[in-house]
Every structure is written in C-alpha cells, then in structure tokens.
Subunit: 219 residues, 2 copies
Amino acid sequence: MSLEVPAHSSRTGKPASRIRQKNEQAIIQAAEDEFARHGYKGTSMNTIAAKAGLPKANLHYYFTNKMGLYIAVLSNILELWDSTFNTLTPEDDPAEALTRYIRTKMEFSRRQPQASRIFAMEIISGGECLSEYFNQDYRAWFSSRASVFQAWIDAGKMDPVDPVHLIFLLWGSTQHYADFATQICRVTGRTKLTKHDMEDAGSNLIHIILKGCGIKPAL
Amino acid sequence: MSLEVPAHSSRTGKPASRIRQKNEQAIIQAAEDEFARHGYKGTSMNTIAAKAGLPKANLHYYFTNKMGLYIAVLSNILELWDSTFNTLTPEDDPAEALTRYIRTKMEFSRRQPQASRIFAMEIISGGECLSEYFNQDYRAWFSSRASVFQAWIDAGKMDPVDPVHLIFLLWGSTQHYADFATQICRVTGRTKLTKHDMEDAGSNLIHIILKGCGIKPAL
DNA sequence: GTCTATACGTTGATAGAC
DNA sequence: GTCTATCAACGTATAGAC
C-alpha cells in the first residue's frame, strides 16, 4: 500500500553507512518542514539544504532529484499514517473501538502535524503523486473500514448513518486540529495547542460522534 | 446588461473602465485557480498571465506585485466567507439554526471549493497574510458565536459540549468536503462530488452533530 | 563520499516603445 | 493603457576537483 523507502542506497543497493543514514535523516527532516509549509512547488532545494546544514549538491547525491526527495518524504508519512488505521473490526465494541480510534488520530495530529499538513497540501494540489497510493488496494481497504460500521449497524449497535460519510467526519474533524492549528491558536488566543487542549478536543469529539451515532459510551 | 455602479481602481480610486474591470476579473479568476492548487510561493505570475490570456506585464500594471494580487484574491474570498457566517442567535431554535448553518457551509464547499482551498493553504503555510484578519474584532466575533451555543446550553436546549470545539467540528467537517474532494473522489470511485452527494453528506452531518449535542431535529 | 563551481532555465519585476 | 524586451535573482541540476 505504501510507496517504498529504500533502507539501502537507492543507487548502489549496498547497506546504508552511518553517515548516509544520518544525512538522509537530516535532509528528510528539513524537507518535511519546508514541504509542510509551502507544498511541493513552493519548496526549494536550496532552502532544504540550508536547513539541513549541507551543500545542496548532497541532496542530489542522496535523492536523485526534487521529486525523488518529495516521494521519500511522502512515503515516510504514509507508513506512519497506515500504521494507525487498521484497528477496527466488526467484533469490537463500537464505543470502545471508536473512542480508541479518535484518541489515536488526535494523538497523531498532535505529534505529527507536519505529516498531516504535507498530506493535506498534496491532496489540495491534486494528489497526483498519490495516484499510486489511491489504487485498487486502497479502495478495498477503505471499503473494509466502511463495512465494519455497516456490520455494527446491521447488528443494531448503532444508528444507520452512512458509513462512508462517518469516516470522512472522523478524518476531517481530527485532522482539522493538525492542519488548522494556526487558525485555532489565533482564534483562541493560544500560542500552541497543548497535550491537554488536544485531549479536551478529543473528548468533545468522542461525546458528540458516539452519541450522534447512537452508541452508548464505554464505561 | 445592467448599468451597475463601476468598481473603482484599487490604485487611483477613479472609476474603473469596462476593460479594466474585465481584465482584473480575468486575472483574479486565473490567480484563484493557481493559488488554490499551489499556494502563494508555488504559483508563478507567468502561469497566471498565460491562463488569463494577458502578457504578464499587465498583471503588474493592475496589481502592483505578486503579494498585491494574492491579497486581492484573499480579500475577495473573505468577503464571501464572512457573509455566510452570521446567522446564529441565542433566540434561534438550535435544531433549525444548526441545520441551516450546516447546509449553508456545505453549499459553500460545493460552490466555492477554490476559496476554501486557498484559505486552507494560507493557514497551513502559517497564515501570516491573514494576521490582519485574525484581529481583535475577529476574536470578538468568534467569542460571540461560541456564546450562542453557551446560551443554548444554559437554557437546557442542548448538552454541555464545549462551544469552541463544536465550532471547530462544524468547520472541519464541512470544509473537508471542499479541501479533500480529490481524496473523497478517489476513495469512492467518483469523478466529482455532485449536488446530491453533498446533500447526503450534509444530512449525515446534521444527524450526527445534532443528536450528538442532544438537540432534537427540527420537524 | 563530499563539496565547489557552474550551467542553464524560470522567476518577479521594470523600462520604454507603441 | 498595452505589450515587447530585458534584468538580476533564484530555481534545479550536474561536472569534476578533492
């Protein structure tokens, strides 16, 4: 499902040296910051190199070109992304499972806001770099997530809401706290969203969404 | 064609000629498309000029520089944005008012997705161009919106949810359908979101959010 | 493996003919 | 008011010395 990140040199296929690993990490880190703020087109290799503390020729040595670096960053992110998603099953207790899912997504929004923003930018920009990602497998996976909700509905464990739109509600409401953190801070007079703020936000979402779906909260 | 009062040149304050009005409109239209896709930094005057069918020197004639054009586009959007927001009052019936509000926002996401995306890109990019917009007045306005919900809560018309987070839930869940339309289409196998799709999405949100807040639906 | 120097296209912006 | 020609700055990418 995810694009491939070479643990080995993309050029030689040999195991990565310690220096290589360290430099690649520094570059990816710097690239994440820039891509998250300015998107693909708006980011320059120059700026990334400066932020990573390396001459810009090195970026081209480790990643063949700008798109190569971008794909590496995206892959990094999708790996994270995917790993937080596959926990719901029809056998689960809806209240418990949904609570856990929302908490996990909010925790992700708090700890990896950059990842969420890069993803958002890419989607808004047309998402062509993710066309590989949104393939048959992805649609099948999405379907299987939706069918979990359908199973709960059929078993009378929750209201007959549209499972697909419920997923979009879960995604939209949780990612909002990563992508729009700037606006949220400005509006509420904060300088940053604390762990506590995010937990409050999560509790609020859990209350409204569970009750809204006719699920009794877990004890 | 009607005899409207001509808009005025942003430079001279003199009445705008018909040519000027037409060209400015074409430029802003093209600029919106590009800024919505690539953000401020990722957009080039060159591309905008080509899309507007004008030599690029003209853009600098009508709008002093790139930032001037960007601000013009943003202002255009904020005007639209604000005009859809001020309908909730403590005297309203919560069910009716919230239903209307969600429908309005979804209608906005359907008709003006570009506007929503430019706003999203700007916020993700740090939102410095909006620092003027997020001023004292804005915070006061936001507060007054939140206090409407608080009034409903105090009157026992809805559950004691956090009014501020409720607003973020409303914003996040409705804007998601504009900003992430690409992903939604890919995932659901559609080519575009129809009016009918958006109405379904709205109905779903209304069901979950109203019930989740302990509000009985309007009849 | 690393970095300096550089090629060469594109950028935002302007000067000046029409 | 409009547009062609042009500028300096910056973009990605590479060649080749170390």
